[in-house]
Amino acid sequence: MPIVIEKLTHTYQNGSVNAFTALKDISLTISDGEFVGLIGHTGSGKSTLIQMLNGLMQPTEGRVTVDGFDMNDKKQRAKGRALVGMVFQYPDHQLFDETVYKDISFGPKNMKLNEEEIDKRVREAMRLVGLDFDEFAEKSPFELSGGEKRRTALAGIIAMYPKYLVLDEPMAGLDPAGRRAVLEMIDDFRRQLGCAVIMVSHSMDDIARSAEKVVVLRKGEIFRCGTPQEIFSLSDELREMGLEPPFAARMAGELRRRGMDLPKDIYTNEALVKALAEIKGGAHV
């Protein structure tokens, strides 16, 4: 069963002079196992929307149901929330326990699993995020580097086996190898745990590489929802709303302006090189 978002509207400080509508009439379905990329300029409503997905916040209008559990209903919310794992942008805010092991086991412990199961899950989660058990289990989270902290925060969520994994800028602050590793890791546990992923990212290149469906938010509304090809062929529209299209899409656009006949749906370097190779091949015939 999916996450269904129906006619969601949210106004902060509703009724006051400072009222601000962050989300307007959002309807969206996130299916089992799907990889959804959520993009939008700062202030477009991304953060508000993802906080609704696990009931951290309730909308002023409309509703979210997670596998049928109505997140507006206090009793059902707890059941829905158990299915949705959230990893926030600043791992520092998510880590609190004395050791990495205790931090990761916090969630499974709250799920009232037995010791053996908890231990199994902590080890598995650490392996999936690439943290060596012997080296890290007994370390304090505060001794870790930025990348290691983020891995720890991710492991704590994975250990709960979420059906939906919500990631807010999971690559921010990581080095290139770390970014690649986190993206591969997300692919890995999608395969192994079969979870759906909802990823917020400023990096169009990361979204281009991973997402099956891309949702573009603009001023609290869904501007477009489609495949990466569909979304990233809208370079001009994206740019207008302050989003930077993937590098290859920008290059292809510039080359088209200079008179090169390139297809509209290029958004990776691989596709661009292939198209240019065809032009070169054609020129020789």
């Binding site: 300029h41 602050g173 080095d175 190898a177 290859a248 370097n269 032009i279």
Partner: protein, 275 residues
């Protein structure tokens, strides 16, 4: 000139963050230090104004040693650091006061201060926010305020320790163009520590850190000809350079050591649009 001589740094736990690093940062230079998480680049940054002291070796600014307590205040006035998380650098509730915080502590007279604060805010394009509350600003705006706070101390060296890491791509570009302008127009020495290879293209010289040591050093053009080596130590090349390398490998076009987009676009057009 900032001079780092044979510097090592070992944590109390025995873990070593820097091993025998020597580096000279020339006056007016735009230097970029890149390296993966844990390569020692942030430790090195914190050495530059004595926030951390070497366990071996010395760091000196025009001959003043950072381990000399009597010189430390002067060194900190001349070398300002902006860090990654904007929220941890805001100390007051009004932008103007926040920018004045540093110079105030240095005992700058009030009338001089007002002028300096206004000028610093103008330099980062935030003058219209002088009386705003910092917590209402975006991440990028907060980083501009943090930079203004440093500028108000009239530093000779501005160190950016992954100052753009938490910003969106446009916020990042804003900060970079401001820093570039400060360097070009005011002659401020810039030391930028980053994981974004794109940002290294702004620098005159790039230092690559790995395992607490300097692994490579050169102009962006030189460094980005060594993509394989960079990848082997957890780094990468800018997307434009990746495209350049792929075009060469697949035999579509050889663009030499081109690094910036304009150069690469021109190169592609030259190779493929012969008529």
């Amino acid at each position: 000139m900032l001079s780092i001589e044979n510097v090592s740094f070992t944590y109390e736990s025995g873990a070593s963050a820097l091993e025998g690093v020597s580096l000279e940062i020339r006056d007016g230079e735009f230097l970029c230090i890149v390296g993966h998480n844990g390569s020692g680049k942030s430790t090195l940054a914190k050495m530059l104004n004595g926030l951390l002291l070497p366990t071996e070796g010395t760091v000196t600014l025009d001959g003043m040693d950072t381990s000399d307590d009597d010189k430390l205040l002067d060194i900190r006035r001349r070398v300002g650091i902006v860090f990654q998380n904007p929220d941890n650098q805001i100390v007051t509730t009004v932008v103007r006061e926040d920018v004045a915080f540093g110079p105030e502590n240095l005992g700058v007279p009030t009338e001089v201060m007002a002028v300096r604060v206004d000028e610093a805010l103008r330099s980062v394009g935030m003058e219209q926010y002088a009386d705003s509350a910092p917590h209402m600003l975006s991440g990028g705006q907060k980083q501009r305020i943090a930079i203004a706070g440093m500028l108000a101390m009239e530093p000779e060296v501005l160190v950016l320790d992954e100052a753009t890491a938490m910003l969106d791509p446009l916020g990042r570009k804003d900060i970079l163009s401001i820093v570039k302008k400060l360097h070009d127009e005011k002659g401020i020495t810039v030391v930028m520590i980053t994981q974004y290879m794109e940002e290294a293209l702004y620098a005159e010289r790039v230092v690559v850190m790995n395992g607490g040591k300097i692994e490579m050093e050169g102009s962006p053009r030189e460094i980005f000809m060594r993509g394989g080596e960079l990848r082997s130590i957890g780094l990468d090349v800018p997307a434009a350079v990746e495209l350049r390398d792929m075009l060469k490998e697949s035999g579509v076009a050889d663009l030499g050591d081109a690094v910036d987009q304009e150069e690469i676009i021109n190169g592609i057009c030259r190779s493929l649009l012969k008529n």
